[in-house]
Symmetry: C2
Subunit: 251 residues, 2 copies
């Protein structure tokens, strides 16, 4: 009997055609599917022979305990089954992949990973901008506002690098984040919010850092969303201001 | 007659099955294909009806001038054709997408974007680690070492954020980068190099920041490669040290 294994599979940001071809092939062969809240629910249609187990887990909400998810994966893999653990975006950016890999390795179970598109990239695509336009910056930082110990990342240090910031899980504290960034960055720094990036429900807002929290509230934007801050984001604002239409100001 | 348009299409890090399903569909319908050096050359097999134009461009080497590429795209789009501009990794991370989008918009040509997997994510998948294990960090910075004016990013400011660093186009100055980072980070900080991430030629090295340049030279690693630095990278080293096999120390 062949031994089982676990694949951590990236579901991408929303629409199913943003999955990789490798992800689609892997899903088609899966025996067991563990699906996250943040993944598109229709992903199960790509795994017709799999038993589907929903293991929702969202910051601050009721959730399936992490230890239970890890035990489930191990149990099925030990039976010789191919377990596919589906995660929204790219499996290796946030989402506790590190802990799951460590637990599986500790149990002697083979793990592999199928990459995907993270929602920060989809947000930039929706806005029609590069994350790293070389007139403006040398890179981009993907950072989560939702930390294990309820502390905050060092927003000033991040702002001081001059990188574009792509902030995940920040909508519940968007006012405080903007305030901290304003200690370092000008009030006119371009900023954007993209909710449901990469899906048909995508909503976009382009504004400035000073107006970010108020404008996001006025537009009714909430989680899940990516907040983008930095001069490179100004390319979207400039385009909208000149009557651009390929990428609407708000979907 | 319908008007043409340009799609900036992400070819992913290497293997063709790391393209998204949307990318494959877009290629199948393309009239004109402009292909980068950094994309897998076999990608043309996915675009059977397209005329293929190679527009290689790699830091420091002989290359097709950017202005010429932009004129080519405009010329074919104005003929009503669907031009697909293929870029390695994700089109919106480095690679001058920002300039191409601005030029096309300035010429009144419709642009859209198809996302993909950037090589930093593929590098982490090869090493079998999360880029953002929450025991170690709150995020990851993707930064290019190859700047327009031949200056350097502020490595100390980047190191001070505590983010995992994914450094692109840094192999030709790996010694200097490591030295600058050592001003802030401990000598034992885990570091890795992944060459040809996400392709069958992938080669991996896991070491420490102090030994990074020497070990990369000894292993014969060169461009194109991603350099990863930070405590989260230690998960790969810890695994290798304990006899791990799912993710080899060097492929």
């Amino acid at each position: 009997m062949t031994s089982g294994k676990v694949t951590l599979l990236s579901a991408g940001p929303g629409d199913l055609d943003l999955l990789t071809i490798r992800a689609a092939k892997t899903l088609a062969a899966a025996d067991i599917l563990l699906v996250d809240d943040l993944a598109n629910a229709d992903i199960v249609t790509l795994a017709p022979k799999a038993r589907v187990i929903r293991v929702g887990k969202r910051g601050g909400c009721k959730s399936t305990p992490q230890a239970f998810i890890e035990r489930l994966m191990q149990r099925y893999a030990r039976k010789g089954l191919h377990v596919v653990r589906v995660k929204g975006g790219d499996a290796l950016l946030f989402g506790r992949a590190g802990e799951e890999i460590a637990a599986l390795r500790g149990a002697g179970i083979e793990v592999d990973i199928v990459n995907g598109v993270s929602s920060g990239f989809a947000a930039a695509a929706g806005l029609g901008i590069s994350l790293t336009h070389r007139d403006h910056c040398q890179g981009v930082t993907f950072v989560t506002a939702h930390m294990r110990d309820h502390s905050e990342p060092d927003w000033r240090a991040l702002a001081a690098t001059g990188m574009t910031l792509a902030i995940y899980m920040g909508m519940s504290r968007i006012g405080g984040i903007a305030q901290s960034l304003l200690d370092v960055l000008p009030a006119t720094t371009p900023a954007a919010v993209v909710q449901h990036a990469g899906s048909h429900e995508e909503k976009r807002l382009v504004t400035t850092l000073a107006r970010l929290a108020d404008d996001a509230a006025a537009a009714g934007l909430g989680s899940p969303a990516v907040i983008l801050v930095g001069a490179a984001i100004g390319e979207a604002a400039a385009f909208a201001a000149h009557g651009g239409r390929s990428f609407a100001h708000a979907a």
